[in-house]
Symmetry: C2
Subunit: 152 residues, 2 copies
């Protein structure tokens, strides 16, 4: 029988809250050597994921988009919306300001193959695993799939 | 003084060869819990990187692109070139068949901020660090940058 998400996921992952200070999230990621954390609200509902990618902006800062002046107008040569989003991630002080919202999730009974497909299609590195009530019961990473491949 | 790549990178990373069997690369990634390996040729020159992303195709397989027949022609609705590339990654048996070629690299004297910018711009997860002769002397990952942030 082929493996399921439940066979391979890490159970009971460390989670953070939107109001968790960013420094605390960075410390957890660094100490546990993990690459992302599910973010849950007071009701235990998944509201986002905070990952290494979201935190890189804190190191890089952001460069305002290039623009040209034409008559009295400012014409941006890049999307100023993307700049504002990145600026938020660069200056944020709490998990809620920096996290990625609406993460792609999976249920524990799905096959590993399906999980790998979702990971590739959405270009993500981890999927929070939700039970039928919407509770986060695990996290499945690319590394978990590699280790399952190695064990075969 | 701000940190450089050399301060934070992992020195003397494990490397593999294009002719290394894929199973061996998967075993190394799984056992060492790392997400990518530089690939070097006989002369010690960097020729690629093999990462979790390249290996996911071995788990997912690939679906041929959708097409429609029109008169006597096959019209692909997706890029058949991308399909062929992914198929190669799904069926390959050696590192050379599956690796990503021409990886983005960095030199050890660059600042961590520059490294983080390159990582974000190119949407990669690690940069091989090359000395002035082109030899791979280290690897810098997103995780290394997070740990440097946590140590500040």
């Amino acid at each position: 029988m082929s493996k399921t998400v439940a066979d391979v996921m890490s159970s009971d992952p460390i989670v953070v809250r939107p109001e968790t200070p960013l420094k605390e999230a960075i410390r957890i990621l660094a100490e546990k050597r993990i690459s992302g954390l599910p973010v849950i609200d007071d009701a235990g509902k998944l509201v986002g994921i905070i990952s290494e990618t979201d935190l890189m902006w804190q190191e890089t800062g952001v460069t305002p988009p290039a623009y040209i002046m034409f008559l009295d107008s400012v014409i941006y040569l890049q999307n100023p919306g993307a700049y504002e989003r990145d600026l938020h991630k660069a200056l944020g002080q709490t998990v809620g300001e920096v996290m990625s919202k609406n993460p792609v999730t999976i249920s524990p009974d799905k096959s590993l193959k399906e999980a790998a497909k979702i990971i590739q299609e959405h270009k993500v590195h981890r999927l929070p695993v939700l039970d039928s009530t919407g509770k986060v019961i695990g996290i499945l990473t690319r590394g978990d799939i590699i280790r399952a491949m190695a064990a075969e």
